[in-house]
């Protein structure tokens, strides 16, 4: 027999079983309405749960992205000071993070899908519960128990199917979020333990240490050069106000003169030195 026919029969069978258990049909109405409200709450909680999981994954993605950006900067810094080995190290670590990130991205999409599905299910159920409530009151007010039977069965069957569908959606979303929670928990632990930090930057951020060390030695070199320059001019009187008192002073003076001549500064430099040299 056809798949779709069989599935609908399974739903129907489930409903009939519940109906058979009821003695007073009008009691069925109140009992069912109660169950509907509970299910509605459950599906709303489900939406909130999925959203929480999704946000957690989002947070982890942001953290990993920041780490990845940092490694990227370090690789550039390393390259700019000619340390290709350090740059390579940083990029290798970055690629490890990238694969983690792409996995998280898949999880994020899945959770987003579940959230949308469940939100839709919640809205559909809400509409049917509303309409069931109205129908229930009408039936109770208008019909005797015996007369009400058929109408009750109709309303009950209609909403039971929706409830079964929503129940399946909740189960599905719960399964997905459980899987994700387990993985997110593992990743959080990994982050808390510092293992991810180690992956990003080594036990004590060795790449940064090396870059800092190189940066520091670069500064020291520059300062040494400046001092040497000062010492070389040591005999000269310390009359220059600007304080950086080396040879560049003359260049600055020449530029200032060019400005006074009223010439466009861009045009001046190429012409000026040659004219100066000539005389």
């Amino acid at each position: 027999m056809s798949v779709m026919k069989r599935v609908s029969m399974m739903f129907r069978a489930k409903t009939n079983k519940v109906l058979d258990r009821m003695e007073d049909p009008r009691e069925t109405l109140d009992y069912s309405y109660q169950t509907q409200l509970e299910l509605l709450q459950k599906v709303r909680r489900g939406v909130a749960d999925v959203a929480t999981s999704r946000k957690r994954v989002e947070l982890q993605m942001n953290q990993l992205q920041q780490s990845s950006d940092k490694l990227d900067r370090q690789a550039r810094d390393a390259l700019s000071v000619g340390r290709e080995d350090l740059a390579r190290d940083a990029l290798t670590r970055k690629s490890g993070l990238q694969s983690q990130l792409s996995e998280l991205n898949t999880q994020y999409t899945t959770l987003q899908g579940e959230e949308e599905r469940l939100t839709g299910a919640s809205q559909r159920l809400q509409a049917k519960v509303e309409s069931f409530r109205t129908k229930k009151e009408t039936i109770k007010a208008t019909y005797t128990a015996a007369e009400a039977q058929t109408r009750i069965n109709e309303a009950f069957t209609g909403i039971s199917e929706e409830m079964g569908d929503v129940g399946l959606a909740i189960q599905r979303a719960e399964d997905k979020t459980e899987q994700m929670k387990a993985r997110a928990g593992a990743l959080d632990e990994l982050m808390a333990s510092g293992a991810i930090d180690d992956m990003v930057s080594g036990p004590r951020d060795d790449i940064q240490l090396e870059l800092d060390r190189m940066g520091a030695s670069h500064d020291v070199d520059a300062e040494l050069a400046r001092m040497k320059g000062e010492l070389a001019q040591g005999s000269a009187p310390r009359q220059i106000e600007s304080g950086d008192g080396a040879a560049p002073g003359t260049a600055a003076a020449r530029e200032a003169r060019a400005g006074e001549d009223g010439q466009a500064t861009q045009a001046a430099p190429p012409a000026q030195p040659q004219a100066g040299d000539g005389t």
């Binding site: 027999m1 056809s2 798949v3 779709m4 026919k5 069989r6 599935v7 609908s8 399974m10 739903f11 129907r12 069978a13 489930k14 409903t15 519940v18 599905r117 839709g120 299910a121 809205q123 559909r124 509409a127 049917k128 509303e130 309409s131 069931f132 129908k135 109709e154 309303a155 069957t157 209609g158 909403i159 039971s160 199917e161 409830m163 079964g164 569908d165 129940g167 399946l168 959606a169 909740i170 189960q171 599905r172």
Partner: protein, 92 residues
């Protein structure tokens, strides 16, 4: 008649489409019988796409049961087997 796609809701489908849907449904059933997961997915997708294309959404507050119920998008063969076995999978 009313057709439900699990996870999506109910659609009015013209009775004249029954034959066409039955053919697709028979194909789907055959993949389940053959345990052929790789053909199951495309056939289910085709069936769902067809129902969505010819169906009109049932008004949200309607309390009518569906004549036919289809597994939702992304359902696996395993999901369908469980649905058919009815071993507590359908809540309620």
């Amino acid at each position: 008649m009313i057709v439900r796609i699990l996870g999506e809701g109910q659609l009015h489908v013209d009775d004249s489409a029954v034959r066409e849907l039955n053919e697709l449904d028979a194909k789907l059933e055959a993949t389940v019988d053959r345990n052929d997961e790789s053909s199951f997915r495309p056939v289910l997708d085709e069936l769902l796409a067809r129902v969505r294309a010819i169906g009109r959404p049932v008004e949200p507050g309607a309390l009518e049961p569906s004549e036919l119920i289809l597994p939702g998008e992304g359902a696996t063969m395993e999901d369908v087997r469980k649905l058919l076995a009815g071993d507590g999978l359908i809540p309620g």
